[in-house]
């Protein structure tokens, strides 16, 4: 079946992607709410920063992370001094790189579903005695659940395929930062390892497609649970 090399890369990839997606989700929610609902100066700036990883070359993002979060960086140094955390060249660093790259996709998905919510439903909830926080948890969050599912899947898939920012920020360390794409890159650079590279490519494709199919099923079920799909098709 799978070789030790493949298992190592696969498990590491799943761990990094899961950590990246879960870690990015609260931020994605926050930014989506701010961008969809907020009214504040320099909103365009936040919009630009959140979405920058979509357009900036991943290597540049990785480089900026290295400068900022590296052991001597303006954020990396205090993290190391106060908490003893090191991000550069660790799997946690790989997760941070993947999270930054996945964030814009997740924000977009959540923001889109937020903007689709009829705010009149929230008005209706307040007239029925619900406070703002109550409206958020009883009406808004359930209604954007499908969007959040989509965001998680998109983010996970993006994290799974992350290469440029990761290799720049945390390099290529076996068992620590050598995720599937980086392992594949390593094999592709090795003369005579074409077959092994092909196997790894196949594994990557299978994992990605499986995630997509599973998400589609979950998203459909969520939509049905909140009665949105049918309501729209009427």
């Amino acid at each position: 079946m799978l070789s030790a090399f493949e298992v190592e890369a696969l498990l590491l990839s799943l761990k990094v992607s899961a950590a990246a997606t879960l870690g990015a989700l609260p931020f994605a929610m926050l930014f989506a709410f701010l961008l969809a609902r907020g009214r504040f100066p320099f909103k365009w700036l936040l919009d630009g920063i959140v979405h920058a990883p979509l357009v900036v070359p991943p290597v540049v993002v990785g480089y900026l992370l290295l400068i900022g979060l590296g052991p001597n960086g303006p954020i990396g140094a205090p993290l190391k001094d106060w908490f003893g955390w090191t991000l550069a060249f660790t799997w946690q660093g790989a997760a941070v790189a993947a999270a930054v790259m996945a964030l814009p996709l997740m924000v977009r998905a959540i923001r889109l579903s937020l903007e689709q919510i009829d705010f009149k439903l929230e008005d209706a909830a307040t007239t029925l005695g619900a406070s703002r926080l109550d409206v958020l948890t009883s009406v808004t969050l359930p209604l954007i659940a499908p969007g959040v599912v989509v965001a998680v899947v998109l983010g996970f898939a993006r994290a799974l395929g992350e290469f440029g920012a990761t290799i720049t920020f945390v390099a290529n360390i076996p068992g620590e930062t050598r995720t599937l794409p980086i392992a594949l890159y390593t094999l592709a650079q090795t003369p005579g390892a074409e077959f092994e590279a092909g196997r790894l490519a196949l594994i990557s494709v299978i994992v990605a497609v499986a995630a997509l199919v599973a998400s589609e099923a979950v998203a459909r079920r969520t939509r049905r649970a909140i009665g949105l799909q049918e309501a729209r098709s009427q």
Binding site: K120, T127, A130, P142
Partner: protein, 365 residues
């Protein structure tokens, strides 16, 4: 009881309305054309719109006073709001929708079972809103508002999105609610027939102001308000009692003000029942002598009180006293040919009589 005095600039539109209602007339209709500010006023009462200045009291509690800096949020105002489009929560069952306000505001005078029974919702409780018809959705919306323990129900054109069949399905529910529950209702509509069935008193609104407040009968009888109360549906609203019923013909005779009598198809109400009638001006023709060879049963002798030609167009309105005031809508040409003038004796031929509501248990005080 509501007191509201609000003014607000909303773009080009200025809302500048004063409204005061009493406990004796708990069902108040807010009537006016689309865009006259009805919904803005109701939203201000609900707290969904903050006016530039004003004061609002609901059931004795001040919920807004811009001078004293009071502005309660909607969830503290104890209002039940029925929106035009229902606004049911799509992710909840009918039962959860109904319980939403109840869970937050506690039980009021109406219990869950009573509301379900009153609105005919028992077989719908476990459905989701998408599986409901438009009429059912509105009934759930009414139930949800009613169960939120409100001291005032706001209904903003709750029937406007429904076809006439569904309207007639819901109107009786609202009428029952009004009679059985007794929560004050502020009912917004631009349909006079709904208002005639429900309202104790009508506030007529135009261009952001309340221009008149009176009973349906008196408001629609005022010629100067006709541009606002509407012409096509305009007519006389009368109160009548069933004086006689005939099983042989299937007809009944209604006494209007004890003087005029109308013959209409029998309705399943006992003798002596009081009912509200509407005789539309366009259903009334005039004749100088009594035409005998005609199928119209209701031929009433009377006197012309007033003739008012439309400012534009070929039509005129004639107010005739047949024991009660009745409007006729005729052409200016006919009015000239018949030489209609105040004081003239005339026969009014009434083609259709619409019965808007009966109130068997209620005596007019």
């Amino acid at each position: 009881m509501i007191f509201a005095r609000v003014s607000s600039r909303l773009g080009d539109f200025t809302l500048n309305a004063s409204l005061a209602t009493t406990d004796e007339q708990p069902t108040v209709a807010l009537f006016g054309r689309s865009g006259c500010g009805k919904t803005s006023l109701v939203n201000a009462v609900a707290g969904l719109l903050k006016p530039d200045s004003g004061r609002i009291e609901i059931a004795g509690e001040t919920v807004l006073d811009t001078e004293r800096g009071i502005n309660l949020p909607p969830n503290k105002r104890r209002i039940g709001y029925v929106f035009q489009e229902g606004r049911l929560f799509p992710h909840m069952t009918v039962r959860s929708n109904l319980n939403y306000g109840r869970k937050r505001n506690g039980d009021g005078s109406v219990g869950f079972d009573q509301a379900v029974q009153l609105l005919g919702l028992d077989h719908l409780l476990d459905r989701k809103p998408f599986a409901l018809s438009g009429g059912e959705r509105q009934r759930v919306a009414i139930g949800r508002a009613l169960l939120s323990n409100p001291s005032l129900l706001l209904m903003d054109e709750p029937l406007a999105s429904l076809d006439s069949h569904r309207k007639n399905e819901i109107l009786p529910f609202i009428a029952r609610l009004k009679d059985e529950v007794g929560t004050p209702i502020l009912y917004v509509s631009h349909a006079m027939e709904e208002i005639a069935q429900l309202a104790d008193v009508v506030a007529l609104m135009d261009a952001g102001r309340i221009v008149a407040m009176d009973s349906v009968e008196r408001l629609t009888a005022r010629l100067d308000l006709h541009p606002l109360t509407g012409r096509y549906e305009a007519g006389a609203f009368l109160t009548a009692r069933i004086a006689e019923k005939s099983a042989a013909t299937g007809l009944m005779r209604l006494a209007v003000a004890g003087k005029a009598f109308l013959t209409v198809p029998a309705a399943p109400f006992p003798l002596g029942s009081e009912m509200k009638l509407r005789i539309r001006a366009r259903d009334v023709s005039l004749s100088l002598s009594e035409p005998k060879d005609i199928s119209i049963l209701n031929r009433l002798p009377g006197t012309v009180i007033e003739v008012r030609p439309d400012a534009e167009g070929p039509m005129a309105e004639v107010l005739v006293d047949v024991g009660a005031p009745v409007w006729a809508r005729v052409t200016k040409l006919s009015a000239e040919t018949l030489k209609l003038a105040p004081g003239q004796e005339i026969w009014a031929l009434i083609k259709t009589v619409a019965i808007d509501r009966t109130s068997p248990g209620r005596q007019k005080s």
